[in-house]
Structure formats: structure tokens, C-alpha cells
């Protein structure tokens, strides 16, 4: 589908020679450079790669270009990729893999090369797939969750990585998403649309949890992604199977606000019926949007889905479709320092770059 010129000023598809597993903007290393980290997988040679690319933004006549600057080969396919966004300090890239390792990389702010890399090898933190990790904004700690039901907190120090296990579910639970809320609190998501809230000061059991079976009797699902906004730490934005996107407020833990999805015939619109792969609060807002925001409502959220949707959902409004592709949109990232720009990883071995009006 041709994107709507009302919402998009620029839209480009950059074909890649490999499958894009995940991608993230890096904070500007210098005034002119913009970089993105791309986790990709070459299925012909079975090699995973984490590459750092400089991106030249598009001009009215030329498309944007990605120039690989440096690359790193992790032990196996990357399952989750996060970056720190504080512009004053050197950025950090954290990646987890399908065989249980976690890698932390330090890009050089001058030439975009990888200065150093520290990692925890396979099967130490997790047995098997690390499904998700999240990096504290300070870059000092990283939380990882896995299919094996373990939750680990990894400390990034000068001497290397150190970790401690918050809980070992011993396979009785499987986690699929995690997100920091504060340096001592985080939220996890897992099977059965379950969201749990953890407080490191209170040991190895969740402080609060929500078993998401509001679609009673119908098939349950998996939470694929969680986001928490720094200004509203008590609300988790979660997205998962069957197009479900909801906000879970710790203060009303049994009543999630369904933003999209099947809701027993309730009011929420359904933008997609297939898996919502990633959710992020949308930081790009016009002045009128700001005015409309109440302190109670859920902040606008961007989602991408298996059926090729990239859309912005605002509570009580019709969702805005940014893209409707013929293939799945596996991941996206909003440039924190230039929120009109969004990159997405498409199933058909390409990266889409879009600029909103």
C-alpha cells in the first residue's frame, strides 16, 4: 500500500541482504552522525550479525542510505536488542541470543567502531533462549528473561559483567518480555497474557500480577513487548497475541485498559488480529495532541504487527495507520532525539525508514 502523504513526509524501503531481527537508533554520537544498530541473520550461511550503520537521512531527491561501519558476530541469533539513549554519555548496546548469552557492546563515538565487548556465555544466565532484555538508562544494569523462567539482573561494571538471579522459574513459567520502570522495579510479560511487577527490594516474587484472561474461554496469548514511560511508571503498556494491546495500571491491577484487540465486544477498536510484536510509547506529538492529553489517559502508543501494520493508537480515538505492508513488521524504533523518524524491520529482508509530518 502506498503510505498516506497526510501522515508521512518520507517513506523509503531499504532492501537488505539478510533477515532483520531487530534494530535500534543510537543517540547522536556527534552533531552530524546518526547511527542505527541492526541485528540480522543470514539464513544461507546461518550467521548472525550485529552491525552498526551510519544513516544518511533522505533528501527530497535521494533516498536514505545505510552504511555499515562495523560489525560483531554474536554466538547465535539475536533475540533482543537495546541501546541507551542518554546523549551525554557514550552509548551502550545490549543484545541477547537464542542460546542464552548476553553481549554488551561499547561503540566508539568517533568512528562508529566497536570499542569493546563483554559477554556472559551461553547457558550461564539462561538455559536456551533469552527472550528479552532491557537496559537501564544509566547503562549500569540490564535485566534478562528467558523461556526457562529465569530472571537475571546483570551489572555492567568496569571489570566486566556480574549477574544475580532474581528468580528461577525452573521452566514452570516462561517469560517473553521485560522492561525497567526504575532502577529497582521492572515488569515482565509471559504466557497466558500474564504481566508481573517486580521490586528488587522485595525479593524473588512478583509484587503484583495480572493474569490476562479477559477473553474468557477464547484462546489466551503471549505478551511480546512491554513499554513503561518514565513519566508514568505505574502504567505498563503491553502488546501480544491476537492483536491485543492494553495498558495495565498498578493502581487498578484487575482492570486493564484495552487499547486494541478483542475485548468481549467492548469498545476498543481492533487494528490487527495477529501478533503485535512491539509496542512503544510514541514521543512524537503535535501541540494539539499535547493539549488533549489528560493526566489520566494512556499516552499514545505505536505498535507493529505480524500482518504488516505500523500504527499509532490513542485512547478513545481511531488508530492512525502509518504503514500497511504485505509482510510482517517485526520491529521498529522511534528516534528519541528526532521523534518524527521511525525505522522498522520488515519480514521481507528490508528496513523501512519513515519521517512523519
Amino acid at each position: 500500500m502506498e503510505p498516506d502523504p497526510q501522515t508521512l513526509a518520507q517513506f523509503h524501503i531499504l532492501p537488505q541482504p539478510t533477515y532483520v531481527d531487530s534494530l535500534r537508533f543510537l543517540p547522536p554520537l556527534s552533531a552530524f552522525d546518526r547511527h542505527i544498530a541492526v541485528a540480522s541473520f543470514n539464513s544461507d550461511t546461518s550467521t548472525p550479525t550485529l552491525s552498526l550503520n551510519s544513516i544518511t537521512p533522505p533528501t527530497p531527491t535521494t533516498p536514505p542510505t545505510l552504511t555499515p561501519q562495523s560489525s560483531f558476530t554474536p554466538s547465535s541469533r539475536i533475540t533482543s536488542l537495546k541501546t541507551t539513549q542518554t546523549p551525554q554519555q557514550n552509548p551502550l548496546i545490549a543484545a541477547s541470543t537464542a542460546t542464552g548469552s548476553v553481549h554488551i557492546l561499547f561503540p566508539n563515538s568517533v568512528d562508529g567502531s566497536f570499542e569493546s565487548e563483554v559477554s556472559v556465555p551461553d547457558n550461564v544466565l539462561h538455559l536456551g533462549r533469552v527472550t528479552c532484555l532491557d537496559l537501564l538508562e544509566s547503562g549500569l544494569e540490564c535485566v534478562s528473561v528467558g523461556e526457562d523462567g529465569r530472571v537475571n539482573v546483570i551489572s555492567v561494571g568496569d571489570s566486566g559483567l556480574d549477574y544475580r538471579r532474581v528468580v528461577d522459574g525452573k521452566g514452570l513459567v516462561s517469560y517473553s518480555a521485560v522492561r525497567w520502570a526504575s532502577p529497582v522495579e521492572f515488569a515482565t510479560g509471559g504466557l497466558g497474557n500474564c504481566v508481573q511487577w517486580w521490586d528488587l527490594r522485595r525479593g524473588g516474587t512478583p509484587v503484583s500480577q495480572f493474569k490476562g484472561n479477559w477473553a474468557q474461554g477464547a484462546t489466551s496469548g503471549i505478551i511480546h513487548s512491554i513499554d513503561i514511560h518514565s513519566s508514568r511508571k505505574h502504567t505498563c503498556l503491553a502488546g501480544g497475541s491476537n492483536g491485543n494491546v492494553f495498558a495495565w495500571d498498578l493502581r487498578r491491577p484487575q482492570q486493564p485498559i484495552v487499547l486494541s484487540g478483542v475485548d468481549n465486544g467492548e469498545t476498543a477498536t481492533c487494528i490487527s488480529e495477529s501478533d503485535v510484536w512491539e509496542v512503544q510509547y510514541d514521543t512524537f506529538m503535535s501541540a494539539s495532541d499535547h493539549a488533549k492529553l489528560s493526566s489520566k489517559g494512556v499516552l499514545p502508543a505505536m505498535i507493529c504487527s505480524e500482518d504488516g501494520m505500523l500504527a499509532v493508537i490513542k485512547q478513545g480515538e481511531e488508530p492512525t495507520e502509518l504503514l500497511a505492508e504485505n509482510c510482517a513488521i517485526n520491529c521498529f524504533d522511534i528516534d528519541r532525539h528526532n521523534p518524527s523518524d521511525v525505522i522498522c524491520g520488515l519480514e521481507w529482508e528490508s528496513i523501512a525508514f519513515l519521517t512523519r509530518t
Binding site: P15, G128, K170, G171, L172, S274
Partner: protein
């Protein structure tokens, strides 16, 4: 070598095997097992072109060398064959074409189905006009995918010596455009000759690899051009011009003519007549009437889209040429080469067969020259075919280039040849997508392609090609997801093969499983997706991820396996278990319990869990409150009809400590009586043949009886 029988000449051989084949290539397999291994191998096809080799260690060595070594290894071998077309050997580029053609194909199929439904509704034949519009749209979309006509930005300072711009055309696109010209673009049929002229100018370079071509001649000339002083003295110069003129590349002709030495300022005075003649030929060439709607920018000629207008202009133009040919100025031209070659060019423009023949390199070029200068009105495939035969006679080739064979097949109106050529030279992608153009082209082709054939197992040629293409897509981890779109358009075997494809995917890989479920959701294949979920559930369960296992079994609604898991939980009843396994056991009850409809015995298990928990607390520290809670839980369990009879004794035996409580009796009279009654009921039941004895110490029953009796006595006393 599977299927190879010892007596290969024998009638019993399945596959004809010739022993003269070259020796097989040997590859080393890295399985990572330490020697010595007595290899026991299992070989099977995995996904796509991968071969799955399982190497087992022999049981003896496995038992000898510690436990830390694996008992075997599974290796996936990727077999990569030659790509069907060397041009698209770049796998990533090929996948891009595969991805891009999905949407146009699916869109066209939807339109087709919608139109068929509409036609059925109105009991009338579908609207051909509308349909050909959709087919053309489809064709254009596919064509744009195969490579864009690179309109390189016009440079401000054009190098006068650059005659030809180098581009790399693809023969796939060339073939597709040929099909489009003849089958899809019905509107432009009156302009087929001119379309072929354009086609050749875009793709003549493709012939260069196999036969000499005008394109090659121009490329060579351009290389020499830099070193030439007076071009008009060089035969190559005149040869290049006449060749370009013969195939109608008028812009190149004019550009080359203007390189003529007589244009130079210092020469102009001396060679005025000569220059006038050169310019006159250039102008005549650039004013050539063309039977077409328009011309792309930069191309020369004058367009006429009406036959009579064109005819008048054509006659007038030829008259001008003849007039120039007979002009007296030629006598005043002193440069002999210029004079002769210009006259030769005029002969070309007038359509002199032998001149055209010597100016062109292969028969397709000569064919185009005929359209341009001799028979601009050729129409109808039959007459076009006759003309092609004539050109082949004049310019024979030892072997036809694949595009030549395609042209001949089309002109011959032989759909089978066209199909065979598409399949042989351009592969499964081409043929699966081109059938849409062929069927739109003619009724006969449609019948040929859509007729069900016994020798193809009851499917049509069209379907068989789609199935083959779907197989190609299925063989790659990144393209298998688009195979369903092609399979679903196959009426006979599509759904069946789609199910097989989905079953073959490794469902234990969570991303693949979710993709699988999504595809099943789209095509209403509920049973397939529930099977995939079951496979995933069992896989997770076996690998110790009990939570994920139960989750997927619940999603699949697999009551049988969930019940079996619940039954396994009963095995713990009455056994002393470690803290850790109790935790596991408790967690599982939680998991199973979250779905209310599973396993009726769960209610019992929940109560048993409560009982067991308080009993454990009793064991940890001697607290009367914990003991009381345990007793309550025990009584609750014994009263409950859902508690299976076989657990009565184990439960009571477990609570011996409670029954023999030191300080005071914990059970009152009625509670003790209840338990005694149960014990009595058990001894009666023991007489029945279907009674199952529980594995407990033989004295269990009697010690419970004694404990109960003691307790009863103490309770009576207390009350």
C-alpha cells in the same frame, strides 16, 4: 545412494542408473563426536534442501565414556544446487523478486475470484475488457520488479563521444516484456512492430554473449572512437551508423553523423556540399514517420497513430529520400567514402533488403529492420511468423538464443513451446507468473493450461507449475511463508500440500510456531494449528519447560495429554517428596488449574496440595495450629466424593503422625468414625476383583487401624 539396486540392468531397478556417472564427491561431516564411533546413521529430508543426518554413538562406547558426552548428534546439511538461472544466482536478489511478486499475484487472484463469483451470479461470461486491464496492471507491476528502466539523470555536459549508455538488462525482464507485448497489452496490439523496436533497443545487449549484435558493434566502436582523428575515413564509423540505422536507433545515428568531419568550423567552408548532404540524411532519419502513439524523450521520429495519416507521411518521406538520392549534389561531393556510405544509408531508409541484411548482425535485428523500413503494417501472428522465418533464412544461427526461441514460440502460436521455453530458460518463478499472461492471451492457451490432465495426476498444467514454484519457495527458510499464497490458488492439491508444508515446519521453534498459527488463522486450518501447538507443547514439556508445555497444550485443547499430565500428578499422592519436587508439583497444579475445564481430579489435587502443605509444616516444627489445619484438610479430603478411593489409605497413612498426636487427640469422635468407616469400606472393596492395591508397607492398614482406635478412645475420654 538410496534406490540403487545391485543389478542395475535388471528390470527390478526403479530408477535407471548408469554406472558410467562420475565418481561422487565426498564431503567431510563434522559431527563433533569423539572417536571411536561405530556410526549408526539415520538420514532424512529436513526442511527444504536440507538433509538431516543423525549420528548415533554405539551404546557400548556411550556407556563407557562418562555421562557428559552426548549419545549422538543431529546435523543439518544444506545442499545447494545450481540456481535455475545463472542470472539470478544472487539469492538475495532472487528472494526480492519472490517477495515483490506476492502482492501482484495475490491481487490478481482475488480479482479473478471476485469476477468469477460475479459472472456466476449473472449467469454471463466475465468481462474480457475489464480482465485484460487487470492482467496488464499485474504485468506492469511484475515487470517493474524485475528491474527499472534506469532513466539516468541527464548530465548537463554531455560527452559528445558517448554514443551508448551502459546498462545491464536482465533477460528475465526481456522475456517478461515480450510476453507482455504479445499477450497482456491488448490495447497496443496495432503497435506491436514499434514495441518490438523498443524492446530490441533495450535488450539487444543480451544477445551479445552468444551472437554478434549491433549493440556489441557499437560498444566496440565507442571504445575505438577516442583514438579516431577523422571518423569519416574509418569504415567502422560508417558501419556503426548503418547498423544503428537498420535497427532504428535514430538518436544514435544522428549523433554519430554530427561527428562527421565536415561539421568542424575550419572545414565548413571547403566541405559545404558534403556537410549539407550529411545533414540532409541526418534530418531525414530524424523525421522518419513512426506508427506509434508517442516516443520516449530523446528518441527521434514523427508519430502517427492513424494508419492513413502514417501512410501519407511515409510516402512523402520516401519521396524526399528518393529525391535526395537522385540529387545533383552528390556529384559535387569530393569525399568518396562519405558519398558512398551516405547513399548506402539512403538505401537502408528505402528498405533495400540486401543492405539491411548486411547492416544487421542476427535475425532478430533484421526482423526489426523489416518492420521499420519494409513492412511497417505487419500484423497478425501468422504473417509475423512467416517474416521471421524469412529473416532466419537470411541470417541463420547455429543455435538460437533463449530469447530467440521464446520469440519463435510466441509467433508460432505454440503455447507449449512458450511454456517449455519459459520453464527451461527462466525457471519456476517465470512460468508460475507468466501463465496469467498466456491464459489472458487466448482461449486455446487457457484450455491447454487449465485442462485437468491424467498424466499430471488430475491437475492442470497451470496448477502443476504453481505447485512447483511453491516447492521452490518452501525450500528456503525465508520464503516458505509466501508459498501458501501460491498453494491456496491451486484447487486440487493446494490445501493438502499447504498442510504438509505447515507440518514440516519446526513447530518447536517459537517464532516458526507463531508464524504457523498465523497462516492457519488466515486459511482456516484450525486442526493444523492445533497439531502444531501440540507438537510445541510436548517439545517444551520434554525439555523441562513445563509452563510453556502446558500453555500450548491448553491452547491446542489437548484434553488427552493434559489429563495424562494430571494423572502423573496423582503419582505423588501418598509419597514422601523432596521440597524441590513438591515445588514443581505444586507449580504444575497451579498451571493446570488455571484452566477450569481440564481434568476433574484437579479439585482433589488442590485439596491434597493444601493438606500436604500443612502436613509439611507439621513436620518442620511441632505446632498445634498447623496440625489442626492439617487435620481439617484431611477430613475435607476424606469427605469429598471426588477423592479417589485408592488414595484413602495413603492419605491416612500419611497422617499417622496426626492420629498419634502426643499432647492430645486431634480428631474428635465423629471425625475418627468417618475415617474408620472409610477403612471399613476399603476392606470390603478389597474383595472386589477390580480393586487395585496401593504400594504401601503391608502393615500400613493395621497401623492406621490401631492409631484410629487409640485416637477414638482418647477422643471419647476427652469428650
Amino acid at each position: 545412494m538410496p534406490g540403487l539396486l545391485t543389478n542395475s540392468g535388471d528390470s527390478s531397478s526403479i530408477v535407471p542408473y548408469s554406472p558410467t556417472t562420475t565418481t561422487p564427491t565426498v564431503y567431510t561431516l563434522h559431527h563433533g563426536l569423539t572417536s571411536p564411533i561405530t556410526p549408526r546413521l539415520s538420514i532424512s529430508w529436513s526442511r527444504g534442501n536440507s538433509l538431516r543426518v543423525t549420528v548415533f554413538r554405539s551404546p557400548e562406547t556411550a556407556s563407557n565414556s562418562g555421562d557428559d558426552e552426548a549419545g549422538g548428534k543431529v546435523v543439518d546439511l544444506k545442499l545447494s544446487g545450481e540456481d535455475f538461472d545463472s542470472e539470478i544466482s544472487d539469492a538475495a536478489r532472487w528472494r526480492r523478486i519472490a517477495y515483490g511478486s506476492v502482492a501482484p499475484f495475490a491481487h490478481l487472484q482475488n480479482k479473478k475470484n471476485a469476477m468469477a463469483a460475479l459472472a456466476e451470479l449473472r449467469h454471463s461470461v466475465s468481462y474480457d475488457g475489464e480482465w485484460s486491464k487487470y492482467v496488464l496492471e499485474y504485468s506492469k507491476q511484475i515487470s517493474s520488479l524485475l528491474g527499472s528502466k534506469k532513466s539516468s539523470p541527464p548530465s548537463l555536459i554531455e560527452d559528445p563521444k558517448t554514443v551508448l549508455k551502459f546498462e545491464e538488462p536482465s533477460s528475465l525482464k526481456a522475456a517478461w516484456e515480450l510476453l507482455e507485448i504479445f499477450y497482456a497489452d491488448k490495447q497496443s496490439h496495432p503497435w506491436i512492430p514499434e514495441q518490438l523496436v523498443d524492446w530490441l533497443s533495450d535488450y539487444d545487449a543480451l544477445f551479445s554473449g552468444q551472437v554478434p549484435s549491433v549493440h556489441l558493434r557499437l560498444v566496440e566502436f565507442q571504445a575505438e572512437l577516442i583514438n579516431m582523428q577523422a571518423v569519416e575515413n574509418e569504415p567502422a564509423y560508417w558501419q556503426a551508423i548503418s547498423s544503428a540505422l537498420a535497427v532504428g536507433w535514430l538518436d544514435i545515428v544522428v549523433k554519430l553523423l554530427r561527428l562527421h568531419g565536415s561539421y568542424q568550423l575550419n572545414q565548413l567552408g571547403v566541405r559545404e556540399t558534403e556537410n549539407g548532404l550529411v545533414e540532409a540524411v541526418a534530418v531525414l532519419a530524424s523525421k522518419m514517420p513512426r506508427m506509434r502513439v508517442d516516443l520516449p524523450s530523446g528518441k527521434l521520429g514523427e508519430c502517427y497513430n492513424n494508419k492513413s495519416d502514417f501512410m501519407r507521411a511515409w510516402e512523402k518521406w520516401r519521396a524526399q529520400i528518393t529525391k535526395l538520392d537522385c540529387s545533383a549534389f552528390w556529384l559535387q561531393c569530393n569525399h568518396n567514402q562519405t558519398k558512398e556510405n551516405l547513399k548506402n544509408l539512403l538505401q537502408l531508409l528505402l528498405g533495400n533488403t540486401s543492405t539491411l541484411s548486411s547492416a544487421t548482425c542476427h535475425w532478430v535485428e533484421l526482423y526489426i529492420a523489416h518492420f521499420l523500413y519494409i513492412r511497417p503494417f505487419t500484423s497478425g501472428l501468422e504473417s509475423m511468423y512467416v517474416l521471421a522465418q524469412k529473416c532466419i533464412q537470411l541470417k541463420p544461427v547455429s543455435t538460437h538464443h533463449k530469447l530467440m526461441r521464446l520469440i519463435l514460440g510466441i509467433l508460432e502460436e505454440n503455447t507449449e513451446v512458450v511454456l517449455a521455453e519459459c520453464s527451461r530458460s527462466f525457471g519456476p518463478w517465470m512460468i508460475a507468473h507468466a501463465t496469467e499472461l498466456l491464459t489472458a492471451g487466448s482461449v486455446e492457451a487457457e484450455i491447454l493450461l487449465k485442462e485437468e490432465r491424467d498424466n499430471l495426476g488430475g491437475i492442470s498444467i497451470e496448477e502443476s507449475h504453481r505447485l512447483v514454484y511453491a516447492q521452490v519457495l518452501s525450500s528456503h527458510a525465508l520464503t516458505w511463508q509466501i508459498a501458501p499464497i501460491y498453494l491456496i490458488s491451486c484447487v486440487k492439491h493446494g490445501v493438502g500440500l499447504l498442510e504438509i508444508l505447515l507440518y514440516k515446519q519446526p513447530a518447536y521453534h517459537s517464532q516458526v510456531l507463531l508464524k504457523n498459527i498465523e497462516i492457519c488463522r488466515m486459511y482456516d486450518l484450525d486442526s493444523v494449528s492445533s497439531n502444531a501447538m501440540k507438537i510445541a507443547g510436548v517439545h517444551h514439556w520434554k525439555h523441562g519447560r513445563k509452563g510453556a508445555g502446558v500453555f500450548w497444550l491448553q491452547q491446542a485443547g489437548d484434553e488427552t495429554r493434559l489429563n495424562r499430565i494430571a494423572q502423573k500428578l496423582f503419582d505423588f499422592v501418598g509419597k514422601s517428596i523432596s521440597d524441590e519436587s513438591f515445588e514443581q508439583w505444586e507449580g504444575l497444579i497451579e498451571l493446570l488449574g488455571s484452566e477450569s475445564r481440564t481434568a476433574g481430579g484437579l479439585e482433589f489435587l488442590h485439596k491434597y496440595r493444601d493438606f500436604k502443605k500443612s502436613l509439611q509444616q507439621v513436620q518442620d516444627g511441632v505446632s498445634i495450629d498447623a496440625a489442626r489445619t492439617a487435620v481439617e484438610a484431611l477430613i475435607l479430603l476424606m469427605k469429598n466424593p471426588s477423592t479417589p478411593q485408592r488414595f484413602w489409605l495413603p492419605l491416612m497413612y500419611d497422617s499417622l503422625k496426626l492420629l498419634n498426636w502426643q499432647e492430645r487427640p486431634l480428631l474428635n469422635v465423629s471425625q475418627t468414625n468417618l475415617l474408620l468407616n472409610k477403612l471399613q469400606e476399603l476392606s470390603v472393596a478389597r474383595l472386589r476383583p477390580d480393586f487395585v492395591e496401593v504400594a504401601l508397607p503391608p502393615e500400613a492398614s493395621s497401623s492406621v487401624r490401631v492409631a484410629l482406635a487409640t485416637n477414638l478412645g482418647r477422643a471419647i475420654l476427652e469428650e
